[in-house]
């Protein structure tokens, strides 16, 4: 039997890294894929925030003289049919995608949390009514419901955020409701009731924090869905209107006509969308592995 090198084994298990930066460095090393996802996501966020600095040209500036230029030294990713720099449009498009993604996930999440908490905690007819509403909202695919809502409300940035947020509500509400139903029976809730704590306070101070873990995991998955749905809506021409640069609309403008002559119009916006969703999915998966290992997939 070889002697066991206790120090090395302890170090490998992370005994030295319980606090501060060491803790996060250790967790990052253990979840390499999630770290990559986090890096990608942070890169997109930074690109969105500092878009004006990173982009070399104005994304809206039309320059017909240089239309459909291939990628080169001046236009890093080429130009589109109107002479707009593709690279600048992609960087600014990150702003739009992130705004819509985060906005709709946050909005849908908030509404879903409220409905789920009310449904789970109050039960009775409140629960029945909300359950039916959730069933109805879930009976349509995400894209179909979002499509109909943008058609109904009209194409604008705010309306797209609302249109994508509403279909996200049922999943959140279901998860929160299930957790609330379980948490409601626990002794500490009974104790809080016994000392006369108001219902609202119990719900927000005791129940909500304990439902956060699955909620965060769900939110990261929904962020990816939201970005994809926004891209699909813009691709169909029913999403973000001109002049905002949207990755999805960049693809629709280039669709069939330029497939042969200007492939860079098709490749780069698609890579941007895929990378953004990929990053959030990777990060979300790693979060789920850390916070709720039972859901491993």
């Amino acid at each position: 039997m070889n002697a066991i090198n206790y120090d090395a084994e302890l170090r490998r298990a992370g005994a030295h890294a319980t606090r501060g930066w060491r803790k996060y460095a250790f967790m990052a090393g253990r979840n390499m894929l999630g770290t990559i996802g986090l890096v990608i996501t942070v890169a997109f966020v930074l690109a969105a925030i500092f878009a004006n600095v990173i982009a070399r040209f104005d994304p809206l500036e039309v320059d017909s003289a240089h239309a459909l230029a291939a990628p080169g030294a001046k236009y890093w990713l080429g130009t589109d049919a109107f002479g707009r720099d593709v690279f600048s449009r992609i960087i600014h498009g990150a702003r739009i995608s992130l705004a819509v993604g985060l906005g709709s996930t946050a909005l849908g999440g908030s509404i879903g949390v409220v409905i789920g908490l009310a449904s789970g905690y109050l039960s009775g007819w409140v629960d029945l009514v909300f359950q039916r509403v959730i069933d109805i909202l879930q009976a349509l695919p995400l894209l179909v419901l979002a499509l109909v809502m943008t058609a109904a409300l009209g194409p604008s940035l705010q309306n797209v955020i609302i249109a994508i947020a509403i279909p996200l509500v049922p999943s959140v509400a279901r998860v929160i409701r299930a957790n609330t139903l379980a948490l409601r029976e626990l002794p500490f809730v009974e104790a809080a009731n016994a000392i006369g704590m108001s219902q609202m306070r119990i719900v927000f101070r005791h129940i909500l924090p304990n439902t956060l873990a699955p909620l965060i995991v769900l939110a990261t998955a929904q962020l990816g869905s939201a970005i994809l749905t926004e891209a699909s809506l813009s691709f169909l021409g029913l999403g973000i209107p001109e002049p905002y640069p949207s990755w999805g609309r960049m693809l629709s403008e280039s669709a069939a006509e330029y497939v042969r002559t200007a492939p860079w119009l098709v490749i780069f916006p698609g890579i941007a969308i895929s990378l953004a969703v990929f990053g959030t999915n990777l990060f979300g998966d790693a979060l789920r592995d850390i916070l709720d290992p039972r859901q491993r997939g």
Partner: protein
């Protein structure tokens, strides 16, 4: 069991009713109707003509009466008339359904045939390089926008074969038929395949942890029997759930795929109808979509009882 089925059907009807109300109201939130749009372009508006048209289209009655009109018609098989083509909506919708049905069926087939075996493989070889590669592929399948995948496939076929698979209602050869249906089905089925792969993998891993698997191995059962007859069969429930859900949600992916490949199915028709503000068509298509989803969920629940003898919907 019968009581459960009856209650489920009643719930389904309530859900469909709720959707019909929501879609009807949603489409009429924005002030101004089709008559305004039609007359806007004409310039001089004669109020009498406008009122006439409104009465003809049934738009002068209250919203509740209009809704009842539509629902009443639905129950008779009369879906109303398209604003754009003025033909009965049923005539517009019905011929397009088989095309989309073929695509959806093929996509579902691909996703099951590709997703389940690869998921099993990934689970059996957990932690190996192949597992990581397969997981990366499945994650990318979830991240790729389906319309971008379609565009890439078009680009590839143009550079490889010089042509794109263009849809025709009467394919000349079997090869052509395969091309025009299988290629879009692959584009839209890739995402479903990725999901099925992930769920199969996690479900298999869950089952392989069980004690009875260890018992089966201990008593000397061959590995194939253990993996398939014991593990996979018992892990089927979540997989069927996902396949059932995907069958319904395929409609969303088909919307963009049919647009990219220019296929005249009902998914693309929905987008066109929305663009042209052809409300009767939009309403009916959305109801159709909801019907499919609700039926798919019901079928999945019934399949639960078939696959897992412990589940009996009695009270």
């Amino acid at each position: 069991m019968l009581g459960y089925i009856v209650r489920r059907l009643a719930l389904m009807l309530i859900t469909l009713f709720g959707i019909s109300v929501i879609i009807f109201v949603l489409l009429r939130i924005v002030p101004g109707n089709i008559v305004d749009i039609l007359f806007d372009a004409a310039g001089f508006v004669d109020p009498a003509d406008k009122a006439n048209l409104e009465r003809e289209l049934g738009l002068d009655t209250s919203i509740v009466v209009q809704y009842l009109h539509w629902i009443g018609g639905l129950l008779h098989g009369d879906l109303g008339y398209s604003y754009v083509s003025e033909k009965p909506a049923l005539d517009e919708i019905l011929p397009r359904i088989p095309i989309t049905a073929r695509l959806a069926g093929l996509a579902l087939l691909f996703s099951t045939v590709i997703g389940v075996p690869l998921g099993v493989l990934s689970a059996l070889k957990q932690g190996s390089r192949m597992d990581y590669v397969l997981r990366a592929i499945s994650l990318s399948g979830l991240s790729l926008p389906p319309f971008w995948l379609g565009l890439l496939i078009l680009m590839a076929s143009v550079s490889l074969f010089g042509t794109m698979p263009i849809y025709t209602p009467n394919p000349q050869s079997f090869g052509q038929a395969v091309a025009i249906y299988c290629v879009p089905a692959l584009a839209v089925g890739f995402r479903s395949a990725a999901l099925v792969m992930r769920i199969t993998r996690s479900s298999m891993l869950e089952v392989l942890r069980q004690d009875y698997i260890r018992t089966a191995r201990a008593k000397g059962a061959p590995e194939a029997t253990v993996n398939f007859r014991h593990a996979l069969k018992n892990g089927m429930l979540p997989i069927i759930t996902v396949i059932g859900i995907e069958a319904a949600f395929l409609f969303g992916g088909l919307i963009v795929t049919e647009t990219v490949f220019n296929i005249p199915g009902i998914a693309r028709f929905l987008v066109e109808a929305i663009r042209w503000r052809d409300y009767p068509i939009v309403q009916n298509l959305v109801m159709f979509c909801a019907l499919i989803v609700v039926l798919a969920n019901f079928t999945v629940d019934m399949l639960y009882a078939v696959f897992d003898p412990r589940i009996r919907y009695n009270d």
